[in-house]
Symmetry: C3
Subunit: 391 residues, 3 copies
C-alpha cells in the first residue's frame, strides 16, 4: 500500500483497489458482487433497530465470501514472489488472525468452554472438512494429484504432538483432586511453553533449514499470472482483508450463538462445528481454490499449517494470556469427547496424506469422518456441568 | 450352469460337475473326498435322533472344507476373465453372504449381542488371522511378496472410518441417559447411512475411476489355468457353493453355541472368535490359497475387502433392517472391549501392509496379535449385563 | 582377552588395556579421565561411613560415562567384523543386561511397581529421548540422514505388538473381580509366552532370513578404524564393561531412590523417568555417538532394538521368573498412565521413522513428546494405592 492512503478508505474495499488496473480486473469476477454485504454487516444493525440474529448471521456469512476471495487472490499474488512455503505460511497466519482475535474476546468474557471447543473444532475442520473438500474438488478434475509428501510427513507428527499435548493434561485431570489445582495449572503452563518452543523450531525448519520439504511437487501453473499486482498492494490487500475478515467473523460469531439457540442446537455443536467452520471459512475457500488449480502444496500449507498454528501457537498463547486477561486460567483439559475430536482427524489424516497423492475418494473419506463426528456433536445433549467439552 | 439342470442335483455336489470334464479334473483333488459330509450334515440329524451338538459341529466343519475349496476354484476361474479387482470383490461378496444370512436370523431371534460380536469378530479375524496366515504361508515359499500398495493405502483409511463409526456411537452411549434413547437411535441410523454412502463411493472408486490401484503387482502365474471352465458353469458353481456354505454355516453356528457351552467357553469367546472364524472359513481358505500361489493382491482383496464390506455394508444393512425384523433396534455400541477388537487390528494392519510387501514374519506378527486378543476373550468372564460386548 | 589375565585387574580398567597399544590410544580420549570414579563408587561407601545418598548418586553417575564410552568403542570394534545387524543386537543385549539384573533384584524385594515403571519407562526413553537426541545431534552436522527403512517398518509393528500386550491385560484388569485372580494370572502368563515366541521369530527374521532389511543405508565410514583391536580383546572389553555397568547401575539405583525422595519427587517420576534414564544411559551414549558418525542404522539398532528386547524378552522373563523369586506374581497391568506411556511413543515413532530419513527437527519432535510426558509424571501426585502406575 502506498503511503498516504487512508486505512478507512481501504477498509471499504474500493479506493485502493481502483488505483491499480490489475486489481480492478480481478474485482470484475462475479464473486465480488457480494462485496456490498461487507459494509452492510456493519451498517444494518446501527440503522435498523432490533435486527434479528438470523439476519445478521446471513449478511455476515455473505460478506465473508468476497473477503475470502480477495484474500486468496492476494495470497496467490504473493506466492509468485515468495515461494509457496512462505505464502502458505502467510495464508495460515492471516487465516488464523480471526481465530486469535475472537478467542481473546471470548476469553476475556470468561467463555473458556467456547474457546476450547473452537480450538479443537478448527483443527478438526481443517483436517477433515477443508482438506476433504479440497481433495474432492481437486479430484473431480484431476485423476490423481501430487504434493510434497516430505513436508506432510513432518507435519503429521507435529499434529500428533498437538494431539498428545491435549490428551496428557486431560488424562492428568482425572487423577488430581481439587487441592492439586496448582499442579494442574503448572503442567498446563509447561506444556504450553514446550509447544511454543516446538513451534518456533518448526518455523526454523520450514523457512530456513529444510524449505525444500515444502516446495511444490504439483504441476500447477508456475507461470506468473497475467495481472501482476505491485508487491505493496498485494501485501496491503492481504493485511486489510484479514482485518476485515476478523471483524466480520466477530459479527458472525456474535449472532451465530443466538441463531443456533433459536434452532435448538447443542453447545457442543455450536462450538465445535458452527464457530469452527465460520472462523475457518477463509482458509476453506482458499484451500479449495488452490486444489482446483492443482496447487495442492498450497492447499496443504493452508489447511495443515493452520491446524498446526492453532494447536502449537494460538492455543498456548491463549492459555498464557488467560492468566492476565481471563477471570480464571484456561487449560487444555477437553475430556474424552475433545480427545476424540483431535485424535481421530490426526490419525486419519496421517493415513490418507502420507503418500503425497490425493484423489476424489480420499476427499470423500475425510468428509465421511467429519460428517460422523459432526453428527455425534449434533446429537450430544447439553450437560449441566462444563457442557461443551467435559460431560 | 446350463438351463434345465436341477438345483437339487447341483446342491448334492455331483451331477453338474460330472458333465464338465474339467470340473471333474478339479474334483479329483483329495480335499473333495470330504464332500460326503455336505449331505451328511443335513441327513444325520433327521435320521438319527438326539445327535449331540458336538457331532453336528464336527460334521458341519468337515463339510465346509470341500465347499470352500470349490468356491476358491470357481472364483479363480472367474478371475481369469474379470480381472483380480472384480474377482476379489465377487469373492468377498460371496464370502460374506453367509455372514449376512446368519446375522439376519440371529437378529430376528433378538440375539443382538451375538450379531455385534460376530461383526467385530469377523473384521478382526480377517485382518489378523486370515491375513496373518496368508502372509505366513506365502512367506514360507517366497522370500518377499509384493502387492499393490496403492489400494491397500486407500483401504486402511476406509477401515479406520469403520473403526471410528464403531467408536463414536460407543462413546456417545456413555454420555446419554435412558431418556435420550431417541437421540442414540438417530445417531446410529445416520452413521449407518454415511457408511452405506461411503461404501457406494468406494465401489465406484474401485471399479470405475481407479481400478489400477487394485490391479496386481505380484508376479503370480497370469497364464490361464489348464482346465478352463465355461463361464456359466463357473458362475453357477460360485453361486451354489455360496448358498451351500451359508446353509452349512447355519448348521454349524446352531450347534457351536451348545458345543461351546458344554466346553465352558465364555460368550465373548464364542461370538468374537468361534463364530467369526467359522463364518469366515471360506475366505480364509481362499485367501491362504491365493497367497501360496503368490497372488497376494487377490488375498488382500478377499481379506481386507471382506472386512470393509462387513463394516460398511453388512453392519449398516443389519442395523437398518433391525427396525423392521428385530424385537429391538440394533446399534453400534460395543463397549471398550469392542473398540479394542476393531481398533487394534486396523492399526497393526495399517502399519504392516502399507508398504506393499509381505514376508513370513509379518504373518507371525498378525497372528501374535490375534492370539493375544483371542486369549483376552477366552479368559474374559461372562458378565451379568450385556455379557459379550459391554461389561 | 588373553587367557591368564585376572578379571579383577581388568575391572579396574587399566592393566588389560595398557597391553594393547591400540586400546591405549582409545583411552587417551578425555572422557576416560572420569575412569577413577568407577572404583570410587565402590570404595567410598566402604571407607567413609554415612555417605549421603546424593554423593553416591553423583559418583556413580560420573562413573557411568567412561564405562559407556568404552562399551561404545568395543561395540564399534565388533561392528567392523560382525556387520551392523549383529553388532546392534549385541549392543542392545549388553545394554539391557543392567535392566534385567536390576529388575530381578527389585522383583525379589517385592518392588513390583518399580519394575513395571522402569520397563515402560525404558521403552519410552529409548524411543523418545535416546532416538530424539540421536536425530538432533546427527541432524546438526548432517542435513538429512538415511537409514534402512525396511527394518524400521518391521520394528514399528513389533513395538505395536508390545504396546498391545501391555494394554490388553490392563483393560482385562478392569473387568475382573478379585475372585477372578486366577484368570488374570493365566492371561498374563499366556501373553508372556506369546511375546517370547514372537521375539524368537524376530531374531530368526533379523539374523537368518532377512538380514538385508537391517543392513546399513547410511554412508558412514565403512573403512575399518585406524586402531583395530584383536577380536578376543573387543569381546572381553564389551563383556566386562557390561558387567561393570550393571554393578554401577545398581549403586546408582540404590541411591537414586533416597536422593529423589529428599528432593520431593513422585514415585512415578522416579520409576518412569529417573531409573529408566540411568538404566539406559549406556545405550543413550552409544546411540548418540553412532548418529554423530552418521551410522544411523546402528543408532536405531540400539534404541529400537533395546525397546523391543525389553518388551518382548526382558518383561516376559521377569513375569515368568516372578512366580519363583517374587513374593507375589508380576503382571502387565499398568493402568491408563502406563498405557499412554507405551502407546504414544510407539505411535509417534511409527510416524517419524517410517520413511527412513531423519533430520534435526524430527529429533526436536521426539524430545518434545518426551518432555511433555516427563512433565506429566513430574506433576502427577503419589497415590495411596499402587502409586506409580495405577492410580
Amino acid at each position: 500500500m502506498r503511503p498516504g492512503v487512508d486505512i478507512e478508505e481501504a477498509e471499504n474495499g474500493s479506493p485502493d483497489f481502483m488505483e491499480s488496473e490489475t486489481l480492478w480486473q480481478t474485482l470484475k469476477s462475479p464473486v465480488y458482487w457480494l462485496s456490498p454485504f461487507i459494509p452492510a454487516a456493519w451498517i444494518v444493525p446501527y440503522f435498523v433497530g432490533g435486527v434479528p440474529a438470523d439476519v445478521k448471521f446471513v449478511i455476515a456469512a455473505l460478506a465473508l465470501i468476497p473477503l475470502s476471495a480477495i484474500m486468496v487472490e492476494s495470497t496467490e499474488q504473493l506466492s509468485h514472489r515468495s515461494g509457496e512455503v512462505l505464502s502458505g505460511l502467510l495464508n495460515a497466519t492471516f487465516g488464523n488472525a480471526p481465530e486469535l482475535i475472537i478467542s481473546m474476546i471470548a476469553l476475556k468474557a470468561g467463555l473458556l468452554d467456547v474457546v476450547k471447543a473452537s480450538i479443537i473444532g478448527v483443527i478438526q475442520a481443517n483436517l477433515l472438512f477443508v482438506l476433504g473438500l479440497s481433495f474432492l474438488v481437486g479430484g473431480l478434475t484431476h485423476r490423481s494429484q501430487n504434493f510434497n509428501r516430505r513436508g506432510v510427513r513432518v507435519e503429521r507428527s507435529v499434529l500428533m504432538i498437538a494431539a498428545i499435548s491435549i490428551i496428557i493434561p486431560s488424562v492428568f485431570d482425572n487423577f488430581v483432586s481439587p487441592e492439586m489445582y496448582q499442579h494442574e495449572n503448572a503442567l498446563n503452563v509447561c506444556v504450553a511453553i514446550v509447544l511454543l518452543v516446538t513451534y518456533a523450531f518448526n518455523m526454523l525448519f520450514m523457512l530456513k533449514t529444510h524449505p525444500h520439504y515444502y516446495s511444490p511437487k504439483s504441476g500447477g501453473e508456475s507461470s506468473p499470472p497475467d495481472n501482476c499486482w505491485p508487491l505493496p498492494n498485494a501485501l496491503a490487500v492481504l493485511f486489510l482483508s484479514s482485518v476485515m475478515l476478523a471483524l466480520m467473523s466477530e459479527v458472525l460469531v456474535g449472532s451465530v450463538e443466538e441463531t443456533a439457540r433459536n434452532l435448538g442446537l447443542s453447545k457442543a455443536f455450536i462450538g465445535i462445528i458452527i464457530i469452527a467452520l465460520i472462523g475457518g471459512a477463509p482458509e476453506s475457500v482458499a484451500a479449495v481454490t488452490m486444489a482446483r488449480k492443482n496447487k495442492l502444496d498450497l492447499t496443504l500449507g493452508i489447511a495443515v499449517g493452520s491446524s498446526i498454528q492453532i494447536a502449537l501457537f494460538v492455543a498456548p498463547i491463549l492459555m498464557l494470556s488467560s492468566f492476565f486477561i481471563a477471570p480464571k486460567p484456561l487449560n487444555f483439559v477437553v475430556g474424552n469427547v475433545g480427545i476424540m475430536i483431535v485424535l481421530f482427524p490426526v490419525m486419519i489424516f496421517s493415513m490418507i496424506a502420507a503418500d503425497g497423492k490425493s484423489n476424489w475418494f480420499k476427499g470423500i473419506q475425510l468428509l465421511s469422518v467429519y460428517l460422523i463426528m459432526a453428527l455425534f456433536c449434533y446429537f450430544l445433549p447439553d450437560m449441566p456441568n462444563t457442557p461443551i467439552i467435559k460431560p
